[in-house]
């Protein structure tokens, strides 16, 4: 009952010009949500033709830093870039700052809401290495696990995406991401229709491996545009085997197989990643290349405690009863 009231309240706050419609919300909460729980429908809707997770291998020995991938990314996703309403709402409490990149759309030196892929450069072992950087698409993404609103999700095909129609811009995904990949643009999104001064602060943007193009049978724009074939995409086991084989035969180094528990973006470099990490410029929108422990591992261990706890609680009653029976048989204390 209270749940229904909450949902009705949310629906009533949505304005007609909102990008998410009442119908879409009903679909999300009702028939669509329930139906999406069905395994067969889920598989039909979300798995790529090949089935399983797709991964990309980026062979840095081939990258010349021409930025064709970054240009293709911007062109392919231009229609999805934010068009913020200005002035931004005065947010409460004061001190909550908007983040605005709309006047810096041409900035290709870092990740922004208008630049989901950029090229990092490093000097290492006497050579210049170019590194296309975008979302790593973790196999167990903390951004999706910790998003409290269901805006960030991992798709069964291995893509991690943020739904711009749902995101409130709390930036928790960026805090949880070991590389701080998602970037926020204020003045857009659902928060403007809910409580623009009190909650939310825009929408988070990042690479989603061109999931709509892929769903239509295409490949991600960056993969397709590269003149040197830096990136290959395919089923993760095949890409992982290819990466290991290339590293073995060329004496190369791999990044992404184990980082944060494993990612679906794997880099092959001619020089160790410690040297690349030391050589690149790091900061907001400029992710590192350091080794990353599995940030979800402690939670995953606790998850089993959560799932088994009711059984353990029930078992404790039987254990208690059994102990009482044993005591009685031994003629000891009869209290339970």
């Amino acid at each position: 009952m209270a749940c229904n009231l909450l949902i009705r309240g949310m629906l009533n706050t949505l304005k007609p010009q909102s990008r998410i419609t009442r119908r879409a919300l009903f679909k999300a909460l009702g028939i669509g949500g329930a139906a999406a729980l069905l395994p067969e429908r889920a598989r039909a809707a979300a798995l790529p033709d090949t089935g399983g997770e797709q991964a990309t291998l980026l062979d840095l020995t081939r990258c010349v830093g021409c930025e064709a991938c970054a240009d293709a990314c911007r062109e392919a996703n231009a229609a999805r870039f934010p068009e913020p309403r200005k002035p931004f709402p005065q947010m409460l409490p004061s001190g909550t700052k908007p983040e605005d990149f709309s006047d810096r759309r041409a900035d290709t030196s870092r990740l922004t809401p208008y630049n989901w892929l950029f090229i990092q450069r490093a000097q290492a072992q006497g050579r210049e290495v170019f590194i296309p950087r975008r979302c790593m698409h973790c196999q167990n993404p903390p951004c999706a696990a910790l998003c409290p609103w269901g805006a960030a999700s991992k798709y069964p095909g291995g893509t991690v995406a943020i739904d711009a129609d749902i995101c409130l811009g709390g930036a928790k995904c960026r805090d949880a991401c070991p590389w701080a990949i998602p970037q926020r643009q204020s003045g857009v999104g659902l928060y403007l229709d809910l409580a623009p001064r009190l909650g939310g602060n825009g929408v988070m943007f990042k690479c989603d491996r061109c999931k709509d193009r892929v769903a239509a049978g295409g490949t991600p724009a960056c993969v397709e545009a590269c003149p040197n074939g830096v990136q290959v995409i395919g089923p993760r086991p095949e890409i992982e085997a290819l990466a290991r084989e290339k590293a073995r035969t060329t004496g190369g180094h791999l990044y992404g197989l184990d980082e944060n528990g494993g990612t679906n973006t794997i880099y092959l470099s001619p020089v160790p990643f410690e040297l690349l990490d030391a050589g690149i410029e790091k900061g907001p929108g400029k992710p590192h290349l350091a080794s990353v422990a599995d940030s979800m591992a402690p939670s995953n261990r606790l998850a089993w405690a959560v799932l088994l706890a009711p059984l353990a609680g029930a078992a404790s009653v039987f254990l208690r009863g059994a102990r009482a029976v044993v005591r009685r048989k031994e003629g000891g204390d009869e209290r339970v």
């Binding site: 009952m1 209270a2 749940c3 909450l6 949902i7 679909k27 999300a28 909460l29 669509g32 949500g33 999406a36 729980l37 429908r41 889920a42 809707a45 979300a46 409490p93 001190g95 909550t96 167990n140 999706a144 696990a145 910790l146 998003c147 409290p148 609103w149 269901g150 805006a151 999700s153 991992k154 798709y155 069964p156 995406a161 749902i166 709390g170 930036a171 928790k172 805090d175 949880a176 909650g199 494993g262 940030s295 979800m296 402690p298 939670s299 995953n300 606790l302 998850a303 405690a305 959560v306 799932l307 706890a309 009711p310 059984l311 609680g313 029930a314 078992a315 404790s316 009653v317 039987f318």
Partner: protein, 142 residues
Amino acid sequence: MNGFSLYRIVMAVLAVSGMAQMPVFKRYHIADVPGLAWTADSFLTFRLHYAAAAALLFWLGHRLVRRGAASLGAARVALLGMLFATGAARVIENLPRVAFPPMAGRFLDWTHLGAAMAIGIWALTSVVRKNVKTPSPDRDIV
């Protein structure tokens, strides 16, 4: 400590750590209060929520087998059941190599949030009613 006290403490921890799943403690400067910086630690509060959920579910499993569902009341069983069902499904979704369709994840998140708010409102209502009439020990659980 009796079972009712444990229930109250665990529900309080779940409420605080659940609220912390939304970035409100940082936004509203609560995390700036000395001693409360941990409320803005996403991973810490996430794990705390899991740990408290495990404690609650252990208590629930014990209680339901020992004294039956009637000892909790139909409303509490329904609300806790909804919390458990959506929370457990979300815990499973968060495991490696598990991915639900985005629509399903969203449905779980919003239903879980709604159930948590409902149980909070219900608990507050129970406290108000307790001041009106003398409760039995079992009614005292809120």
